[in-house]
Symmetry: C3
Amino acid sequence: MRITATFLDEISFDIPHHNWGRDEWDRDFAAMKAMGIRRVVLIRCASGYFMAYPSEVIPRRGVKHRPPIDLVDLFLELSEKHGFEFFAGTWHCNPGNCIDWSREQYLDEIRINLDVIDELQARYGHRKAFAGWYLTHEVCSNEPGTIELFQTLGSHAKKVSGNKPTLISPYFAGVKAAAATCDPNALRLTPELHAEHWGRIFRDIAGAVDITAFQDGHVDYPELAEYLTVTRELADANHIRCWSNIESFDRDMPWRFPPIKWEKFLWKLESAEAAGISEGITFEFSHFMSPNSMYPAAGALFDRYCEYCGLAARSRDLRGS
Amino acid sequence: MRITATFLDEISFDIPHHNWGRDEWDRDFAAMKAMGIRRVVLIRCASGYFMAYPSEVIPRRGVKHRPPIDLVDLFLELSEKHGFEFFAGTWHCNPGNCIDWSREQYLDEIRINLDVIDELQARYGHRKAFAGWYLTHEVCSNEPGTIELFQTLGSHAKKVSGNKPTLISPYFAGVKAAAATCDPNALRLTPELHAEHWGRIFRDIAGAVDITAFQDGHVDYPELAEYLTVTRELADANHIRCWSNIESFDRDMPWRFPPIKWEKFLWKLESAEAAGISEGITFEFSHFMSPNSMYPAAGALFDRYCEYCGLAARSRDLRGS
Amino acid sequence: MRITATFLDEISFDIPHHNWGRDEWDRDFAAMKAMGIRRVVLIRCASGYFMAYPSEVIPRRGVKHRPPIDLVDLFLELSEKHGFEFFAGTWHCNPGNCIDWSREQYLDEIRINLDVIDELQARYGHRKAFAGWYLTHEVCSNEPGTIELFQTLGSHAKKVSGNKPTLISPYFAGVKAAAATCDPNALRLTPELHAEHWGRIFRDIAGAVDITAFQDGHVDYPELAEYLTVTRELADANHIRCWSNIESFDRDMPWRFPPIKWEKFLWKLESAEAAGISEGITFEFSHFMSPNSMYPAAGALFDRYCEYCGLAARSRDLRGS
């Protein structure tokens, strides 16, 4: 079980920005590589008034700031330099999780993102590092519209890009979902009910979605291995690859969010391994595991992880001045 | 549009302290200067149990700790060393915004601050860097007492100091005022109503208040240019200089407060420029834009701003050991 | 009045983790020593799913992760290296303060901790640095079960360890207790009522508890000296040593918790001195006063404290790379 991928959360709604420029990102890709990461996934291409690239189609839906730097281009360039694969994220139009979401909104999200996918393909599809797609919508259950969203967008992205793989990262409807979504009545699914919902979803989106990587932070630690096992078995049965999104931030602290305690991270690595999963993506390296993070405990998490994996890399040698 | 001034928030009620001594402040003034700052404004001279200087008059209103260092003296000394102007802040007796404020309290605030101004003038009025006054009371509308407060204190400060300029920094009654004031029913003013309130205020305080610098963080990004334009026009009409207080902290994050995302800061610079404003003060350099800040993203914001302005200064060269 | 001890909060429930390994802890013990610390107190030996050492008895009460490192062993080793005394903390089974606590739960806590104390003594009792016990339960008043808990556990710990001293760290039922315990109806005790409660408690636990160090952050600054004086007099009368737990984190800021403002820390040092107390423990050095803390203001607090004490140590010389 190794972390081989990370999200890139530069267009964020709840994570403070690093305000990095090209040099800082270059240095951070080098640190990722030292830890064994070979794949970066842009979590979304727009949020609120801000866009990761100078899109023409996104501003049709409301005011957007023209970005001073094209981050998709920068991330592709750095992926090419460091030998990474880059996955492009779609647009989650309604950022924040604290919302009611209707089928009508799903249909709207589909319409918008078909254009966004076409635009991303047209602008960046030829780039060497462009290796796949991330369907950014985060869900936990089979709500009306969920299947249609992933089917339509996944199929379209694969079709226009010569069948590049598509990734989703849902979350478990577990004990911490209420806090995460700011909804005290958030849905809770037992592993059995989770299997019902996701058996149906996986059956219907197979072929449009190639990889799933559940966020591992919404269930309690002792329950995690069971949720992951059920998920991995269902994914296998539907020929969907199953990774784990091993969150490197701590959901149990009084502020949102510091880097996670190493022992919790270790617990989650061990749970994924117990579930028969061998590949991990983390949300996300740059704030929560990087020697260059604004949070010094991130560099220490990097060191503990490298020690655990027998890697010689150490944060003090990878940090910028 | 350039940032030429910063507040100094050492006597804080909601910003964690750096615990800097003389050397750290000296280094930070040097960093300010490298970014083009030439003016520092002490945001208040007392808050809660703490005072920026060993006042004799403030402790008459309740227990105060005798400060281990005279910050007004220190800031004047460093302003003299670095060639800055220093503006002295008055005392906002009831710190925190989450209060009802009556005309009676305004009158009390006036009585206290007349003595505070006299004391500041007596102690520091002769200092070379003492260049003006900051009337620390933060308001958004023409509540009973507002005009009287600024008229009386501004006139008095100018009279005792040989007409040194006076500055205020109100806030827009916008969409984020409720969160900022912890009052879900906080007043909201459209640009038109804002113009009604501030047309009246500016008319009446002209002559007593020389400069206004509205906090730019309480309205939504797309609305900002309009609020600033209305304000600048009213200020011009009343012969009040109009700066913008370009906040360098982020009001949209889950904790209070990290440094702002560069792209938001840029948006606000551009909005002020579009409104015909050419001078900016920020709240505040040391926590949110400084290479020496406790928040590393502040140094990166410094770098992005310097790049934008074509300045050669970089945070890595200005940071302390 | 000097800080001669610190808690170690590695098994934390509300303080983000540093993710330090052996080298980082070694360096931090060196920094403690430079500030005059000679005693470290493990605040608890387990919390939630995590344990400070590979206990056999704690997991009988529910799932626990087998720790990747034995922190009790590590802290004893580093205490021996740096010439410190180590106090072992018991297990507070119900972490977090936001709970109702019944006498039945106290009895259960006693039963568990008798086994924990035996296990700690068996594993580590022979170690040179093992100097005492910390009874981790935090209380503010004479609730049913409080006296019994401290009597039973203190007596047992002393008996099995050849009479090693026992320490408790209660809190004042003051104006900030409601926020700290998340209970708006939290008990408030005037100094007179505080004296009634603690006169009774001290009388009954004398002999089982040797040292008390009240947390100094729950009362308002001007009241602190009086609460400390009352407490010190009662402790003296009952032959209990009275230290002060001078908290180095700031309870007045919008997030939990940054390092405290130096002037507040100074106020509390002065209050303890005025109360006739000469020995301080802090909660806690590594996050809030250390040159190695994730919070840079901690290193500055270290510098201000060292200047105040006339110590030559400075944070820049003690920080890791």
